[in-house]
């Protein structure tokens, strides 16, 4: 019996591994298909957004705790990396790590009081935090450049390579994103991941089972802040320019939308959501003007009619259709 189990598990692991390998391969050959065009640039953003969506999904999709302030962590990573490297001439790679650690500590510190709140109140508190940080970005003009933004951030370099083209940045960012996806997949299928999902399903039962609910929520909040901060640093070094408008409440909501559209509690879903919301504006010219209508509609529609997101919604839709067609055929 145990032998069967471990064989099953190996099969499962191989399956997961194959899925990840295929996904990585697809990502790696995409630039060849784009031939270095405009889409390559768009897909750099898909990568950054995927990173952010995965980070939020760990918190929102797995632990069931909402954050409407994710853009703040992203922004802190971006501005801190930018300022420390451009204004103070520090090493970008070192600063990326230092900043991520500092942002993680900040999240850890505010996480303890904030994550005591639940549901609507947690949403409001994280939103409040996000807006305060956003206001600081705008008002601390000597440091951040204020509303007009902060420029002159250096590109990252490794050995003799400077990440100064879309092509190089694509592989840099997707490298980090793929590693994060792999680590996240490991995490959600572990003792920690089970603890998080247990909190989501029944907090009281999780506590009775000895899961330190409070600490675990704060840890995952801090982890998602760290990943977001790294995404921010990468964004800053890729764009070489950052401005507060990228880190406001609207972007926090956009991230929540990505996670929900893709599928709560699905790592690949986060990619799907990020890709969709990043590509839509590029394909629909008109989308530029109607974007907020579409976001609003998608949020309401998905939550009401496809709460599992595209990852679960599409297969079940296909199944339903197939069943209906199959049923019709047998009737005829």
């Amino acid at each position: 019996m145990h032998r069967i189990d471990s064989r099953d598990k190996k099969k499962l692991f191989r399956h997961e591994w194959v899925k990840f390998a295929l996904f990585s391969l697809l990502i790696m050959i995409l630039p060849v298909l784009f031939e270095g065009g405009y889409l390559l640039n768009v897909f750099i953003f898909v990568g950054i957004h995927t990173l952010l969506a995965v980070a939020l999904n760990l918190l929102l999709g797995y632990a069931g705790q909402i954050s409407l302030g994710q853009a703040a962590f992203f922004g802190l990573g971006a501005f801190a990396s930018g300022i420390l490297t451009a204004t103070y001439g520090q090493n970008p790679w070192l600063m990326m790590v230092v900043v991520a650690a500092a942002v993680g500590l900040l999240a850890f510190a505010i996480g303890f009081p904030i994550l005591k709140l639940k549901g609507h109140y947690l949403a409001m508190a994280t939103l409040g935090f996000g807006i305060i940080v956003y206001i600081i970005f705008n008002e601390a003009v000597e440091l951040t450049g204020g509303p007009s933004g902060f420029s002159g951030i250096p590109n990252l370099t490794v050995g003799g390579i400077t990440f100064d083209s879309d092509f190089k940045n694509y592989y840099l960012i997707w490298g980090v994103t793929l590693v994060t996806i792999l680590l996240s997949l490991n995490l959600v299928n572990s003792r920690i991941g089970r603890g998080l999902r247990a909190i989501h399903d029944s907090e009281v039962a999780a506590r009775v089972m000895g899961v330190n609910v409070r600490l675990m929520k704060v840890q995952i909040f801090a982890l998602s802040a760290v990943i977001s901060s790294v995404a921010g640093s990468l964004y800053a070094h890729t764009m070489t320019f950052v401005s507060p408008t990228s880190f406001g409440f609207n972007f926090s909501v956009e991230l929540v939308t990505m996670v929900i559209i893709g599928g709560l509690g699905s790592i690949y879903g986060s990619f799907l959501g990020a890709a969709l919301l990043t590509l839509l504006p590029e394909f629909l010219r008109a989308f530029q003007d109607y974007d907020i209508v579409v976001y609003g509609f998608l949020l309401v529609f998905m939550t009401m009619f496809m709460p599992g997101g595209l990852v679960r919604g599409i297969p079940s839709l296909v199944q339903n259709l197939r069943a209906r067609i199959g049923g019709g055929a047998s009737d005829a």
């Binding site: 920690i192 247990a198 899961v211």
Partner: protein, 250 residues
């Protein structure tokens, strides 16, 4: 094993429990019975750290655990099941039991994300232990089913398997037979006896008198928030106050 002393619980102006004291002996099956509204579930919630009592103390193996949180009590060997089963509905049956093994593992975020060799080994060990508890409760064939899709009776068994996975010293069961048919109740009785034979002390709140009289070594009767009587099933059945409380209700 468990010593409950002078527990009083008030919610606003309502006194749910008043000066309730009793003990649970190691390796016994102790039943807590009483008409609806007697305060049985409230008492369980206090003992397991979900509510904080207005006054009174709870000792586990001589240790004062009165204001301890559930997650701490779990590490001390106290676990419970719920009246309206509280499963992790979106996880598989096996994963549910593995959450019960949470305190048996030590791997953290970093080692889990990196799949360090010892984390992989620990994971394998937890999985095997979880299977053991599934076969102990007889639901091995459901290992990969989603817990939320289980029929009520199986869900109850899963809850017990999950609780046993902690290898507790004391299990508190809140109406384990509620919603079960007579065959399932019979199986439950045998399972509870096997749990006791495994050296685990059991305390249960139950309405099914036949079950209580059948398997319990000691019984505590609550009525309107007070302890009415305490004794062996024999003594309780012959206690005129208990009889009148139940007849008066029915």
């Amino acid at each position: 094993m468990l010593e409950v002393k002078a527990i009083t619980q008030r919610f606003g102006g309502v006194t749910a429990l008043e000066d309730v004291s009793f003990g649970v002996k190691a390796s016994d099956i102790t039943g807590i019975i009483g008409p609806n509204g007697a305060g049985k579930t409230t008492l369980f919630n206090i003992i397991t750290g979900i509510y904080t009592a207005t006054s009174g103390t709870v000792h586990l193996e001589g240790k004062n655990v009165t204001r301890m949180v559930p997650e701490k009590l779990a590490t001390l060997g106290m676990v419970r099941t719920f009246q309206n089963i509280e499963l992790f509905g979106k996880m598989t049956v096996l994963e549910n039991v593995m959450v019960g093994l949470h305190t048996k593992g030590t791997s953290g975020i970093l080692s889990s994300a990196l799949r360090l060799p010892w984390q992989v080994k620990e994971e394998r060990r937890l999985r095997e232990q979880a299977h053991h508890w599934l076969s102990f409760t007889g639901i091995t064939d459901l290992a990969d089913a989603e817990a939320g899709s289980l029929p009520f009776g199986k869900g109850r068994l899963l809850e017990i398997a999950r609780a046993m996975a902690l290898e507790p010293k004391l299990v508190l069961m809140d109406e384990p037979a509620a919603g079960l048919n007579s065959r399932e109740t019979l199986e439950l009785a045998r399972l509870i006896q096997r749990i006791r034979e495994a050296g685990v002390t059991v305390a249960l709140v139950e309405h099914d008198m036949e079950l209580v009289m059948d398997i319990c070594d000691a019984i505590v009767v609550l009525n309107l928030g007070r302890k009415l009587a305490e004794g062996t099933p024999q003594e309780i059945q012959e206690n005129p106050e208990v009889v009148s409380a139940y007849l008066g209700e029915g």
